[in-house]
Subunit: 195 residues, 2 copies
DNA sequence: CCTACCGATCGGTAGG
DNA sequence: CCTACCGATCGGTAGG
């Protein structure tokens, strides 16, 4: 692993643990037995490190969603797969996703606005997916908008409590939460979008 | 409203918007047309403001839980009520709850450890409540521990999207999420804890 | 409630 | 990759 990558890994770990503003360039350098000014041979600014983390994570989340839903055979399957990849990203990259959720005020403009726009697009894609399922008669839910918020937030929360040595693996939690999501959407019996 | 209260309200609003470390004492003072040193006539330190917010919020959350569950007639009713008060606190105090969830790294020791201990106790009380329901035959759930995490996190998330002018009121969302929680726990039909 | 001020720390640059 | 250093900002104190 080259130095630039080591620096980024260390920064992500420290930002997640101490917060972006609670982590100094000296902290990052010390963890690598370097001096702070030497870091600048590998990066432009501290803010660049944050930007790479948050934009990389939202890009990955949206790509995973698109891949998962395009493989699906029907809305029920699509929700199951989308929930699973949403949960998996948060279980496997808890530091990155926590930074993306907690450090919004630390992102400088214009990146912050762009980041929030991408998050809104992700949320909108979920709303559309569920609406498609409702139109197809696959779901029955009093408030689809709030049900989607609930599904997304419960998946985001996985980053706060998932432990690799816990009783369920990340894949099992993804599958389990997929079923919970379908319950919350009032999935009709067979799950083939027909009824 | 006296000055000390105004300062605390302003601080909560700014901490939620800009982060604790992204908010200077000068920012708080400027919002009140004061100079930063004058704030110290009404408080001991910036950290005191953070401590009051996070400890006050977790204390309130635990008290609401205790009140809600002690009024309940059976485990199903208890979960419904506990979910409602959990959601209500997050909908009505989004700034305070967001600070409590995002600013953990900014809380100085020994308060941070005490705060995390109280959060763990709240989570444990929820686990016990659900276990009581399982023992009484009221719920059927493959992984009660993860179902409780999911319920709590979906309620915490309400602070991130609830708007008072939205299509459902806070009380309606509390009731709705209470039903979602019972679905997630596999509530048996009549909900009287018997079967 | 103010002005004047302090020591500490910060992100980042110069120059080698 | 280092030392030396810069201007800016921070939380907080002194003294009135």
């Amino acid at each position: 692993m080259d130095r630039a990558t080591e620096i980024r890994k260390t920064a992500i770990s420290l930002f997640a643990e101490q917060g972006y503003r609670g982590t100094s360039m000296k902290d990052i350098a010390s963890a690598l037995n370097m001096r702070a000014p030497s870091l600048y041979n590998h990066l432009e600014s501290k803010q660049e490190l944050l930007r790479e983390v948050v934009m990389g994570t939202i890009t990955r989340l949206r790509a995973d969603f698109d891949a998962a839903t395009s493989e699906a055979s029907d809305p029920v399957d699509a929700v199951r797969r989308a929930t699973a990849v949403h949960v998996l990203l948060h279980a496997r990259h808890p530091d990155e996703t926590r930074i993306g959720n907690r450090e919004i005020p630390s992102i400088d403009e214009p990146v912050r606005t762009e980041y929030l726009r991408q998050r809104a697009e992700y949320s909108n894609a979920w709303q559309s997916l569920v609406q498609t399922g409702i139109d197809a008669g696959a779901f029955s839910v009093p408030s689809p908008k709030f049900a989607v918020f609930a599904i997304l937030e419960m998946g985001i929360g996985v980053a706060n409590w998932y432990r690799p040595d816990g009783e369920l693996s990340d894949v099992e939690i993804g599958a389990y939460f997929g079923e919970l999501a379908l319950q919350m959407l009032g999935r009709h019996d067979e799950g083939f979008g027909g009824k």
